[in-house]
């Protein structure tokens, strides 16, 4: 065993990269659920975002356009879900599950001709002086722009939900859609926008995997991250900063366990492999012991006649 082989600075830097797709998808879903909608299609929207972003980046030569296309593709797919559940009054659980299956199939079809291609690289930012600082530089100032966007988005969503009028309306719709409707808020319109926001975030998260974290396209490459994002929202008690903590914890333990393996730590590999799931759940369950609970209208369909 040689723990000195693990470089803590590089470890923290790479755990941030591993956590970002999860964070983006979880923040999107958090807003959707705060509006009272349960969209289980996160995995499907992520994988479609992954291929849409990859294809656009390859064709246009710009990873930046790729991310925009990924957000649009994720949002477009989520509109399908919105039409089914908000206007056709379909069951949200079944619609979300079918969205995931549809997304996995659609992405495989879209990706047929993009296997084995290298995407254009998204460079890391480099701030003179700051990025060259020891320790702090690689951790805080040496990443790609989307990673910072994820953190900024968390802060923005937190502020929006807590302090803004928009956040109040969104929460009202999620807690009691009949009361919100009686007050004159357009419940369906607000939910539609929340669902599209969630789709766009999931698409970004998917593209982060295909353009930065791996970077290449292969079928099924999100490999369950969308489901973990869904679980993370619940364990984080619908609080943005806890979702960030959970995502970093999960990403962190994932990277740490590989590091421990490479350093030859004498813990059976199977235990190391399951540790990200276990530790994230335990920490967030302990944190969620306070009185916060799910939005009261979560998963219930709204129709103005009722």
């Amino acid at each position: 065993m040689d723990l000195s082989a693990i470089n803590p600075v590089l470890l923290i830097a790479s755990l941030m990269v591993a956590a970002t797709p999860l964070l983006l998808a979880a923040i999107g879903e958090l807003v959707v659920e705060k509006a009272g909608v349960l969209n289980l299609g996160v995995e499907g929207m992520m994988i479609v975002g992954a291929i849409a972003g990859f294809a656009t980046a390859v064709e246009s030569g710009s990873p930046f356009f790729g991310f925009i296309a990924a957000a649009i593709a994720g949002a477009a797919l989520s509109i399908l879900f919105a039409i089914l559940t908000q206007f056709a009054q379909a069951n949200q659980v079944a619609s979300g599950l079918s969205l995931t299956l549809f997304g996995l199939g659609l992405s495989a079809l879209m990706g047929q001709s993009y296997v084995g291609i290298k995407p254009p690289q998204m460079g890391d930012i480099h701030i003179p002086v700051l990025s060259d600082l020891p320790v702090v530089g690689p951790i805080l100032f040496g990443h790609d722009i989307i990673l910072y966007f994820g953190i900024a988005l968390t802060a923005a969503v937190w502020w929006m939900l807590k302090y803004s009028r928009l956040g109040l309306v969104l929460r009202a719709v999620g807690e009691n859609h009949d009361a919100a409707h009686a007050l004159g808020y357009k419940v369906l319109k607000i939910r539609l926008l929340a669902i599209m926001f969630g789709g766009a975030c999931a698409g970004l998260g998917g593209a982060y995997i295909s353009l930065i974290r791996v970077p290449q396209w292969t079928e099924g490459m999100t490999a369950g991250i969308g489901w973990i994002a869904l679980a993370l929202v619940v364990f984080a008690s619908w609080k943005p900063w806890r979702a960030l903590l959970g995502a970093y914890l999960f990403g962190g333990v994932t990277v740490v366990q590989l590091n421990l393996q490479a350093a030859g730590v004498a813990i059976p590999v199977e235990y190391l492999a399951m540790s990200p799931y276990l530790i994230t759940i335990i920490v967030l369950v302990i944190l969620s012991a306070d009185k916060s609970s799910a939005p009261a209208s979560l998963g219930r369909n709204f129709h103005a006649s009722r």
């Binding site: 082989a5 693990i6 790479s14 290449q216 079928e219 099924g220 990277v255 590989l258 490479a262």
Partner: protein, 357 residues
């Protein structure tokens, strides 16, 4: 079950239904563990399938199902293929071993060929390639090229085939560079690009400047390229899109001659259950072009190892070799027998860490 699989299965069903109308067409089925576009293992098997089609034209009809999980799903796919009239089915991953045997019992008239396994029956052959011969070449290059003396190895599952590769690469790296150290990470998957990329990054962060992989995707190559001063080897396929650096050479699986020979045997009615284990000499294992990043003398040393194995004058496991615990395995000049190699479940002396059980 992914939509593509369903679509493929549907296409298989349609294709077979149409094919049934034509008399004496030999149907050959292939079961793949990854997508045909993985750029590695499954890609090469699919190249073999295409070679069969090109060789026999209208005489054969090939069908395949990709992304078949090892386990019960595999049994279902094989059963479906057999029911739809396949005469010969190639099952191309180690984890299909028991499913293949189970399905073969139910269809005694269908011939099965299982890759990399060790269980045979009257209608089940096994075939594999001596990848460890290629690993000996890679180990030689890796030992010469590493400057940090740390070589990273991404293992898939702790099965004999993978362990053989690790041992062979280690022995030959050690031979040319006594200070070399192996860091081994088990991914517990054949194909998961995000995980493979993470594993490669971790190894690079811990000082490895050579990455060997026994997983199927090109993700570790991409990670090495991003890191800069790291070299890799193509696995199963040439992966030449990452040449000349990071990919400096590769092990290429060439299944085409075997697939053509076995299909011919079915057509001629001469098929028998056999165990085939061919290496560089027979052409089943190819060594991808060694790129110019490798100095000429190292390249010559690697090619010498390759040629000596091809003409049978050198065996990758030649004594004296001790097991990890220090006990003697092979005496001076003794070479390993195929039985021990087929079931290899121990590291050789000098490798650190334990094999997951």
């Amino acid at each position: 079950m992914k939509l593509t699989n369903l679509l493929t299965s549907a296409a298989v069903a349609l294709g077979l239904a149409a094919g049934a109308a034509m008399a004496d067409t030999t149907k050959v089925g292939f079961v793949y563990v990854g997508p045909v576009g993985d750029g590695g293992w499954t890609y090469e098997h699919d190249q073999g399938r295409k070679a069969v089609e090109a060789e026999f034209g209208d005489q054969v009809e090939t069908v395949y199902v990709e992304n078949v999980a090892e386990g019960p799903d595999a049994e279902r796919v094989m059963t479906q293929m057999a029911l739809e009239g396949a005469d010969l089915i190639f099952t191309t991953s180690f984890g299909y071993m028991d499913p293949t045997i189970n399905v073969a019992k139910k269809f005694p008239n269908v011939k099965f060929e299982h890759a990399t396994g060790y269980k045979r029956a009257d209608n089940v052959s096994t075939y594999s390639a001596r990848f460890y011969e290629g690993r000996a070449v890679q180990g030689t290059i890796a030992g010469h090229m590493t400057e940090s003396n740390i070589i990273g190895y991404i293992g898939s599952y702790p099965i004999p085939e993978v362990i053989r590769g690790i041992n062979s690469a280690y022995l030959h790296a050690k031979k040319v560079n006594p200070d070399v150290q192996f860091k081994i990470v088990w991914a517990f998957t054949w194909f998961d690009p995000a995980k493979e990329a993470d594993a490669a990054k971790v190894l690079i962060e811990q000082g490895a400047d050579v990455i060997l992989q026994h997983t199927d995707s090109t993700a570790p190559q991409a990670a090495a390229q991003a890191a800069g001063n790291v070299i890799t080897f193509g696995q199963a396929s040439d992966m030449s899109e990452y040449a000349p650096k990071p990919r400096v050479s590769s092990i290429i699986d060439d299944w085409a001659p075997y697939y053509i020979a076995r299909t011919k045997a079915v057509i001629d009615g001469t098929w028998e259950s056999v165990d085939t284990w061919d290496g560089i000499g027979a052409g089943m294992v190819g060594i991808g072009e060694i790129s110019d990043v490798v100095p000429a003398d190292v390249k010559a040393a690697a090619l010498a190892i390759k040629d000596a194995q091809a003409n049978g004058t050198y065996h990758a496991f030649t004594g004296p070799i001790n097991k990890q615990d220090g006990s003697a395995w092979l005496a001076e000049g003794e070479t390993a027998d195929d039985g021990t190699l087929a079931g290899m479940n121990f590291y050789v002396e000098g490798i650190e860490g334990d094999i997951p059980q």
